[in-house]
């Protein structure tokens, strides 16, 4: 973490900064701003903060920050948080340091200590106080050192994880101190691991075997690094080195297994995206036989609906996302209905013309979005509950957004399947698909069924668009990225068979992710396409052929 040799004695800066935050965050004593400001010999926090722009180089800045932390002001945390975000500016008119946030080409200024509004400033009036990754990492370490003493055990656990890779003796001391008073058993064992890592890097031969015992069965990155470094050392007993080697091998073996599980999850996740984008097409193309090249653009419309709802509810991205599911269904479904009534119904039975017409529509829709909104991508934010990952065991973490989409795709699939199987509408759709003349003779209004079926497929495409906003860009080209894959899935699964679509989506996803680590993303895709072409040569009707209109006609 530290590449340079500090001009200032580093450990004293750590010690004072760490101790200060430990103390202030632990809530043992709070030195108020007033007491500091009244004392004439110590500069106030405000004076120190105003000195920030003078500290040009890294060392001077670090020394000044240490000074700020040591002052023990309650507002220090605010200052550090603003600094970490890069939100501290020098107001060049008053030569003071303020917190700023950009609004268009203006800046809204607030007092960094009190949060009081200070009005606006133009671009030329302010200058940003620089912060880089190194400074940010140091601030984070300091904050974590403080958080070790926090009341909330989850905060303490997070602090331990943040500090785990550190080789800093100050962190070592903090860990030892905390280990003595930690009430939670789980946290105590985390601290033991952390201390064992320090022991392996230390020079006390008696501590080695106890440390190795503690690390048995662990496979965290920092543990493996410590074991690797330990087994490469020349000043330790050979038997201990062999033991460390064995522990390392076991950890790496376990990781290899976890990597395989992870790849399986990646495959399922890719499959779920394929399923979502293809299941709408499985209805319009599979059941109705319409080659709808504008399917991708219906997905795109769903994504833009999500964006629009987030614009309406800027503070509630999560609720907007949930509301977007039905809204996108009706928006895309409505557009689909209009398409069917306006264009496609005149082209039934003429697949080539349908293909050309819908391709044209897809271009029109793309350019329409480009002209209406902008050719630039739109920003859809992820709600907090979809960010991050669920760590099942160290080394195997499943990201929440992927998990959510996997579950969501299965839900959509189940809903669609039961709609087709158990409702009157589903029965009519199947009847019209299997034998239009007979269905009409039995009183099914086939044109109405056609229109509604197409609207249903389009609406499901819109729902897919909502899910995709959480994974990829929302822009005019969104649909193009998915249209080819969607057709592949439907054709591979067997036209007109929903189960086929499910199986095809997941098997393509898993096959892709199994190949990717071996041959790279580009070649994996090519190999898969070749395999698919060969398969369709052997079995043109796909995995699960269907008895229906297409086959009778073909």
């Amino acid at each position: 973490m530290f590449g340079t040799v500090a001009a200032y004695p580093r450990w004293s800066w750590w010690m004072s900064l760490g101790l200060f935050l430990a103390v202030s965050l632990g809530g043992w004593t709070r030195v108020t701003a007033q007491t500091v400001e009244t004392s004439p010999s110590i500069p106030s926090l405000r004076e120190l903060v105003n000195r920030l722009p003078e500290a040009q180089d890294e060392e001077a800045r670090r020394a000044l920050l240490m000074h700020i932390a040591a002052g023990g002001d309650a507002a220090t945390e605010r200052v550090f948080a603003a600094l970490e975000r890069g939100a501290l500016y020098v107001d060049r008119r008053s030569r003071t340091v303020v917190e700023g946030s950009r609004k268009g080409s203006r800046y809204l200024l607030t007092d960094v200590l009190t949060g009081e509004a200070l009005g606006e400033a133009g671009r030329r009036d302010v200058r940003r106080i620089p912060v880089d990754n190194r400074l940010r990492a140091e601030l984070r370490t300091v904050q974590a050192l403080g958080a070790l003493e926090a009341r909330d055990p989850t905060v303490r656990q997070a602090a331990i994880s943040t500090l785990l890779g550190s080789s800093d003796p100050e962190v070592h001391k903090a860990f030892e101190r905390r280990r003595g008073v930690e009430p939670e058993a789980a946290l105590r064992s985390s601290l033991d691991v952390a201390l064992a890592i320090f022991a392996l890097g230390g020079h006390d031969p008696k501590a080695f075997s106890a440390a190795l015992n503690t690390l048995e069965g662990r496979s965290e990155e920092n543990v493996r690094t410590a074991l690797r470094q330990f087994s490469a050392r020349s000043d330790v007993l050979e038997s201990q080195q062999v033991r460390a080697q064995r522990l390392l091998e076991r950890a790496e073996n376990r990781l290899r297994w976890l990597a395989r599980l992870e790849a399986l999850f990646f495959g399922l996740s890719l499959g779920s995206v394929l399923l979502l984008s293809a299941v709408g097409l499985a209805i319009t193309f599979g059941v109705m036989g319409v080659i709808n090249m504008a399917h991708g653009e219906l997905i795109m419309l769903g994504a833009y609906t999500t964006w629009a709802l987030q614009q309406l509810l800027p503070t509630q991205p999560g609720i907007a996302l949930l509301l977007a599911i039905p809204t996108a269904f009706f928006v895309a479904g409505g557009v689909g209905l209009a398409l069917e009534r306006g264009v496609i119904r005149f082209l039934y039975g003429r697949p080539l013309e349908t293909l050309l017409a819908t391709f044209g529509i897809s271009l029109i829709l793309q350019q329409l979005v480009r002209s209406l909104f902008s050719p630039l991508n739109r920003s859809v934010s992820s709600p907090e509950w979809l960010a991050g990952a669920w760590e099942i065991v160290p080394g195997l973490a499943l990201t929440y957004n992927r998990l959510a989409i996997l579950g969501f795709s299965l839900l959509v699939f189940a809903a669609l399947l039961s709609l087709m199987k158990y409702t009157r509408f589903g029965l009519q759709v199947r009847a019209v698909a299997q034998n239009r003349a007979m269905a009409r003779a039995l009183g099914v209004r086939s044109q109405r069924v056609d229109a509604l079926t197409f609207a249903l497929g389009s609406g499901v495409a819109g729902i897919a668009g909502v899910a995709l906003t959480q994974l990829t860009n929302v822009g005019p080209n969104l649909g193009q990225a998915y249209i080819i894959d969607s057709f592949l899935v439907v054709v591979f699964g067997g036209v007109g068979n929903l189960w086929g679509t499910l199986v095809a989506a997941f098997s393509l996803g898993i096959a892709n992710k199994a190949l990717e680590p071996m041959v790279g993303a580009v070649l994996a895709k090519i190999l898969l396409l070749i395999a698919l072409i060969l398969f369709l040569q052997r079995r043109p009707q796909g995995l699960f052929p269907r008895r229906g209109r297409q086959e009778e006609q073909g």
Binding site: R102, E221, Q367, N377, G388, T399
Partner: protein, 427 residues
Amino acid sequence: MLYRLYQPIFFVVALTLAAMASRAQEGEPIRVGVLHSLSGTMAISETTLKDTVLMLVEQQNARGGLLGRPLEAVVVDPASDWPLFAEKARELLVRERVDVVFGCWTSVSRKSVLPVFEELNGLLFYPVQYEGEESSQNVFYTGAAPNQQAIPAVDYLMNQGVQRWVLAGTDYVYPRTTNKILQAYLAQNGVAEDDILVSYTPFGHSDWQSIVAQIKRFGGAGKKTAVVSTVNGDANVPFYKELANQGISAADIPVIAFSVGEEELSGIDTAPLVGHLAAWNYFMSVEEDVNYDFIDEWLAYIGDDDRVTNDPMEAHYIGFNLWAAAVEKAGTADPSAVQEAIIGVSVPNLSGGMATMLPNHHITKPVLIGEILDDGQFQVVWETPAAVAGDAWSDYLPGSRNLMADWTDPVRCGNYSTEENRCLGAD
């Protein structure tokens, strides 16, 4: 006899022609071609550049044009379609008779128009960073060559203690060449082969799970790791999102990108990107008055306070001013004369320095490293002490080490071999 009879007629004709020519000098506009996609996938980046050139033309006209003649912009739309770029370039040069063209984005589009410009002796100003290994008499490269972006970026990271490298890129010519140069450069600096991971992905790749997991494992070997990203366009957002979701922060494994700028960041949720890096020759956040003036003019021209400025825009700003200065110097807008006059011309750039056109048709540029902030802006954390001269032929590739480009006498060659002491020309 016959000759003597015709002589006065010749004389009269010559006089009228001369008179017509001088009238053209006074009033007829100088035509400026703009060859940027306004539709299709590249419209996202190129529309802004079209507007930039239009703004520069308008400003020049407000200052009285060039040589007393007004400037007239001719805009065509190559629609992100590479062969169409060549057709539209021909249209500009033959039918519209433009004196200069500002345009193209991506090396494929440039390679597509190159034969047209060479055949018809046009002038093209190309504003985007590219992989180098090219120098044409008719093209001026105002974007960064690899030694003005990639190499300084790696130097910066090495200084930060990075020992393990992931070179991630989209699968096409720019990332492949850049990564080849970087691999040679890293090897020369003592980085072992095991410490470099190269990974290519298709255009518009959106499923980054496996690659990010691979990067995570690669970075878990106890050495400081960084990703050098030549990932292009739309694939970036899912990449950064996946990095954030898998718990990789900029403090653990920083990603330095060569194609992520202010314009790209304006369309996305920047939260997962904060702290990651980009290497460019200009950032909107550069704190110089000349930059503030440019930003104010741009916002006023486009009429939207939320718009941003970016590196290729600065390249057009420099390119346009270099061309204008060369036209003034040559006293004519004739492409051949401008080609001669422009070499050695210097104009201010937007980061407080000067940009000079070099004999190899590249320019001098400072290199800035910026960190992404949550408002979609970059904060400069490092810059080269002096401007870097663009190098057409990389010193780190075996085939191009001994090549140089020089369009002044006596060399006059885009690929002169210092080994064989001759111009390789087209072979």
